[in-house]
Each structure stands twice: as structure tokens, then as C-alpha cells.
Symmetry: C2
Subunit: 475 residues, 2 copies
Amino acid sequence: MNVLNVGIASFLPGLASSGAGFTALDWRPPARGNARLAFKAARLLADERVDRANAEAFRRMTVSRPVLLGVDLVRRCIPGLHDPQRRVLLHAGPPLAWARASGPLRGALLGAVLWEGWAQSADEAEALLAGGGVELEPCHHRGAVGPMAGVTSPSMPVWIVADPGTGRRAFCNFNEGLGKVLRFGAHDAEVLERLSWMAKVLFPALEAALAARGPLELRPLMARALHMGDELHNRNGAATALFTRALAPGLLQARIPQEVQLALLDRLSVNDHFFLNLSMAACKLAADAAAGVPGSTLCTAMARNGTEFGVQLSGLPGRWFTAPAPEVEGLFFAGYRPTDAARDLGDSAITETVGLGGMSLAAAPAIVRFVGGSATSALEGTGRMYAICEGEHPEFTIPALDFRGAPTGIDARRVVDLNRPPTINTGIAHRLAGIGQIGAGITAAPLECFEQALDAMEVPPGASTPGSSGRVTGS
Amino acid sequence: MNVLNVGIASFLPGLASSGAGFTALDWRPPARGNARLAFKAARLLADERVDRANAEAFRRMTVSRPVLLGVDLVRRCIPGLHDPQRRVLLHAGPPLAWARASGPLRGALLGAVLWEGWAQSADEAEALLAGGGVELEPCHHRGAVGPMAGVTSPSMPVWIVADPGTGRRAFCNFNEGLGKVLRFGAHDAEVLERLSWMAKVLFPALEAALAARGPLELRPLMARALHMGDELHNRNGAATALFTRALAPGLLQARIPQEVQLALLDRLSVNDHFFLNLSMAACKLAADAAAGVPGSTLCTAMARNGTEFGVQLSGLPGRWFTAPAPEVEGLFFAGYRPTDAARDLGDSAITETVGLGGMSLAAAPAIVRFVGGSATSALEGTGRMYAICEGEHPEFTIPALDFRGAPTGIDARRVVDLNRPPTINTGIAHRLAGIGQIGAGITAAPLECFEQALDAMEVPPGASTPGSSGRVTGS
């Protein structure tokens, strides 16, 4: 007897013990069995108007040209945050109130309140936050992104990345390095002192070096880093080295003290994640460019606040579709265990949103030492992402796939139809406030977010009606 | 009917047209059918004393610790070349007289004679060289290596790489960039002016920067570059960027004019092959460390002068085994064709000699755009090299092979037994003097060199006698 078991896991033990030959196919019905949504996904997949909208969103996303213009303080450059009387903190992910915030997000908010001088002790800071004395806003709502907790306060410096074609801007704070840092929820004196050093020393040094150098095109640098083993989310060593090389002449000519020049070079040398925040700003620019195409089911934001995972679609601009933030499988630093881990956190999934990071693991086989897996699983992982994407990035190519473009433009129709969520790789924060990073790993966006988002899409009148399935399930 | 055809190519057309099912196995008898040599290879493969000698040579090769000490002029630092009255030029590959030199080697020798001021015109230079007025010596005989023509003259600056453990030193000239350059046989005014700039501007700038910086450990940098898509022969972009980052603090502190600092940074930025010559010096140090282990059949030099390909074995130190230099299959710059190409040239196969370059193509999938092939062929190519190597490099690992060590320590016994030559990737020079680089590609060391070398190995008395074959043929 030979049996083909299609997706019914509960039959497997019986089959295995029966002695019969069997093949198990890991299959679930579209939309995980929600027939109404499966039908809607199929209908949208068969609708050429959606195809055209997605092609346009994909085009906007992939022609985006990120240029590093300079650096400035949040309150001087991010629209809406100029009022010095306003106590506002930006944070990662979809909107969230203090009461529901996770440990690492709370830790980072506490640290920022202390660092801004809005409170003199952690208790005072907590009371202020719990009492609503500080406004909380997603970075995403201000054209910004922030890794992990993403907490960005008015006195912090940020990168300014702009597209000269559209004038659009995106912002991201500076990278603090790994370990006990604010973005992973740590907030002791060492952490706050580093923030002060970044604002008082690093910021003016970068400002002077960039002014001497002039604007820096980020896309060729990022394309090159993808050919050098980076995926530009959790691996940025090549991009950081290339950025150092690009910045060095400006740094040399900047009229700043030599010890400051050396300190900046040292920082660029010891922190291989330095470029992450530039990658994120460049990706935010591309994602924002793709937002707002009517009828498009392409994803233009994936972001996590440690409590919830949120997704936005191009055709439903500004609306978040959320689900509980997932857990992360990964490698832990010595002394930590999976039970110590916070849930998935950060705006850094903006890299996956435009085809990098976990979508392009195949470009970065060495990353498996940091996030787990094998070189083969990295290749296969990227291979599986093409089926849920609109296309292949024309500039960001992957040598190990013979220069195939990165899988770009996550299409909610396909995610739902195939039950295949985008792969995300990420850092892992301790679940308690104040500790910091304890590892890095791989996770997947919750299908629920994409299902909700697709459910909310209006089907334009006159859409053609597909047959029983608008698309063959499988890659 | 089903036929298994083992290695007899002439049968294949008949089989194919017969309609019979058949499988063709690409097999040749050991030592390409030379029964005496095949038996000797088998006997040496079964000899544990050779195994022990090879293990020792492998150990010495892989523990070698290359440290960049500094730079100096050839006549001041290379032993035996101090006499200012001596007119001597070093060149790539095994020994060679002018009369038998290939076009690009002649072009480079002419250029060096002109640049040293030993002649005032190309005709005068040619007469001097043809008349024996300039001594020619292989770089390898002076602890040096040079890419392509490898022509190194007394007034040129060189890198000095040393192993602090043994005091051993290795030397290599500076990289000129691609295209119309001396090492590819070009020698017009532009080429000679660049040589002067390198000696008068680049050399003192590097000297000052390295003095301010202090010695630089090359092995961690090279190991890292292998994780960033370099194979450290034809792809050195990551290593050059990492080297720039490592050098920048010293350059900043060097008391040299700012325009010189900027010129050096610019050179490091535009020439991604800059690190090649450092990689070569580091590899020469490792290969020399492995030379001279009695009874060892490991290869310690592969080098080409454009006419001949030469190989040395550890157990036969200083002896060259040569065969005609092979042709190179590759990609040509616009306007050039395979018939324009010179034969394989250069000491850069020292990188393959210690496990890098063509042996580690799997580390550098992006290189296929430069030398041809596909990402899959790069993976497979490296996979096939393990069978002819003593072991896997403990520090140089390949992410795409799940961090397997680079195939290192080419064993002449195995090369001959399996008829499997080491893969080499290389630049391609025009066959005529004076033109320069016209492409890059892949070739293989001639089996003949390894056969001759193995033939010359003395079998120690008392060696055990193997059965019909000491080793299963196949990987």
C-alpha cells in the first residue's frame, strides 16, 4: 500500500507505524482553511488591476535611490517633533501604550526619559511614563525606523537619507553596538553615557566628515555589500567597511580634533553593525515610496514593538494589521536560554520588507554562525521567498543564486494563498528591562497580520471571478 | 542493453547513436596510464612515512602567521640584491632566459629596464636584455612573489611580511591596478609614471602610515575576507576594504601631506586588487614554511613565467618541475578574444598553493562574473579539490560549505593518482608585449609537472608495497 498524506499531521504516527509506504506533503489549504479569505486571495490573485497596482508599487520600491545627506538632531530634522515643550518618544513597531509594553521596550523608554533629563530616577521615569507624561509614537509615523526597541528621543542624532528624485526623507538613529545597549532595553549609566558620547562626539564628527565628503549614494554600496556576504540586517560587516572607506577622505579633511577622528574610526572598526541603521533608513525610504498605490497588496511595513507584530499594505496606507509578536529561534550568548528571550522586536524588518535581511539569507551564508541554520538552509530559505514576492530586485543581486535579484515586494495575496510568511532574522533581547541583547535568530512574520490585511482590502468592483484556485499552491 | 563506458571517449558517439542505454564515467587510469608512475604513486600513498612528512608540512603551512611589518625598497630589504652595480630583475615563475620569454614577460622586463634607467629606449633595453646585460632570477628564489610577469626591480618598493615565530620573511611588490600595467606587459610612459608615483609617493605614505600603526596581523583579516566573498587571488575587494579600515588610523596620524593621505585613500578605494600582493606575500610565507620536509609530497610552489608552469614539492626543495604553461579559459574585456591571450603567467598561484584562489572558489561566488563559471560550478570546483589535498585549513574557512576549511596542502601523490590537477584562477595578459590585461579566467596546473615531480621523489627504503591501487579513485 502507498499513501499520500496531504497536510494532516495527526495521521502521520499511524501511517508510520502501519508499515505502509507513505509520502507526507506539508500542505495546508489556502488561508489556513478560512474559505472566505482563501476565495478572496484567489480573486485578488486573478485580478489584473491588482497585478498592475503591485507592479507599480514594486517599481517605486526598487527605483528608490537612497542618498545619505547628513546627520542632525531629531528635534531639528524630523517633522512634527520640533516643539521643545513636547515630551515625545518614538518607538519601534505599531502603536503601543506603556501598560502593554514588553520588558525591553520599557527599559529603553525608561533610559530615554532619564537621558533626556525628564526624570531623575528610574522610579520617577516609570511614574512619568505610566502616568502618560510622555507621548509615545511609532517611528514609522514620522518617516523613521529604529532597530529593536527603536526608542528615539528629541535630543538624539539621526541619519538623514533622502531620494533626490522625490525629495522624500527617512531617518534612523545611530547604532550603539551589541550587548548592553538601549535598543535592547538596557539603561544603566554606561548605556546613557554612550548615548551622550554619540550625541556630543560622534554626531559632530560625522557631521563634519559628511559635510567635507558630500552626499553618499547608498544603493551601490549596499548592492556591493550583498556581494560580500552581508544581507544588510544582521550582517553589515562589508557595508560598514565600505562605508568607512567612503567616509575616510571626508573624515581626514574634517576640521575636528585628531582624537575625535581616531575615535570615529575606532567605532567603525569595532562595530560591524554600524551600517545597519543606514541600511534601515535606506529601506524605509524604499518602502515609503511604494506606499499608497491604490489596490496594491504589496507589504510596505513589517515592524514589531515586542508585544505586537504589525504589517501595512501599499493599498491601505497608514493602517496597521497586528498579531502577537512571535518568538525567535536562534543562538543565544553564553549564559542565556530561550526562556530568557523577549518576543520579536524592532523596525529592522523594514529590511525584509524590501527584500533584504531574512529574505536574502542566501547572500550571507556566514550569518548562520550568528542566527543559526546552515548554508544550505540559507540558500533554500531565500529560494522559498520568491513565491510570495512580486519580483526580483534589479540592483540587489545574490551571487550564490547566480546573481538572481533579491526576492522583493512581499505580496499579501501570495502569503495568504500559500500560508507562507516572510522570513525575518533579528536580534534577541532579554525579556526583562535593563539587560540587553542575549542572542540573534530567525523568525517569521505572523500569517494573521497578512490575513487581516487582505481581509481589509476592498476588491474593486468588476473583478474577475477565478476558478477554484487562482494560483497553483507551491513554489 | 545497458553499457557502462569507463573513460573511453571514442566509444561515446557510437554508443549514443546505437540507441542503447549507456552511462559514461569520466575516468582515466592513474598517472594517465603510466603504469610505473601509477605504481609509484600508489606505493607512496601507502607509505605512512610520507603521510607523516605531509602532515608535518601541512602543519607548518597552516600555522604560519603572516604579519605585515612594513615596506621597503627591493635593494634595501631583499637578501642578495643589495649590490647597486648589479643589474638584476626578478620575474614570475621558474627560471627563464630572455630568448624563451613570452610577450607579456618581455614587455614587463623592457619596462623595468627603462624605468631603472638602464636603457633610454625600448630598442636599447631589448638589446641589453637579449645580450645578457641584465641578470634574470625568479622571484621565488629570493623569498619573493610577483603577480603576472612579476617583474620586480631594485628600485621598486615591496611589502615585507614576516612570521614572528620563525623570523622568516616574504616580499611582494605593490599592485598597480588593472588594465595597462607593467605586470601584464605594458610599459609605456603612463605605466612607468605610475611606477614612479608608487615609489615616490605611495611608498613613503605607506611607510609612514604603517610606522604609525605598527605591525598588522594578516591572517585574521584574510580569514574574515574569505567570509566576505573574497578568495584572495582574483577577488580581494573585502580584504582591501578591511585593510583600508585597519590602515586608516595610522594614515591619519602619519606626518605626511594631506594630499598624499587622500591620494593613498583614493588608491585603496579604486583598486580592489590592492590587497592581492599582500595575500601573495602571506601565502609565500606559508608555502616556504612548509618547504624542505624530507619525504613530503606536498606542493610548496606553483608558478608560471608565461612559457612554463613550474611546481616544487616540499621534499625536493628548490627543484622546479616544469611543463608548457597552459591556456586560460575565461572572460575577455571588450574587444579581445581567446586568440589574443598569452599563456598562464604569474606567481599568484602561490595562493592556490596554500588553499586559496581557485582552490576556494566556493568562498567567492561573485567571482564568476570576473573569471567565468557559475555559483554552482564554484561550489563543485572547491568540493573536487579536497580529494587532492592533505587537509582543511584550520583558520581559512568557507561559509557556503558550512565553514569547512579551505582544501589545503596539494599532495602530488593524489594529483597523479586521480589525474586531478589543482584549479587556478588568474588574470589573462595579451600575448604581445606592451598591451596589458585583456581578461581573467580559470585554468588548471599541468599534470605533467606533478608527474615529473613525483617521479623524482625518492621512495625511502622499506616502503610497504600496496595492492593494485593504494587509493580508491574518485572523490
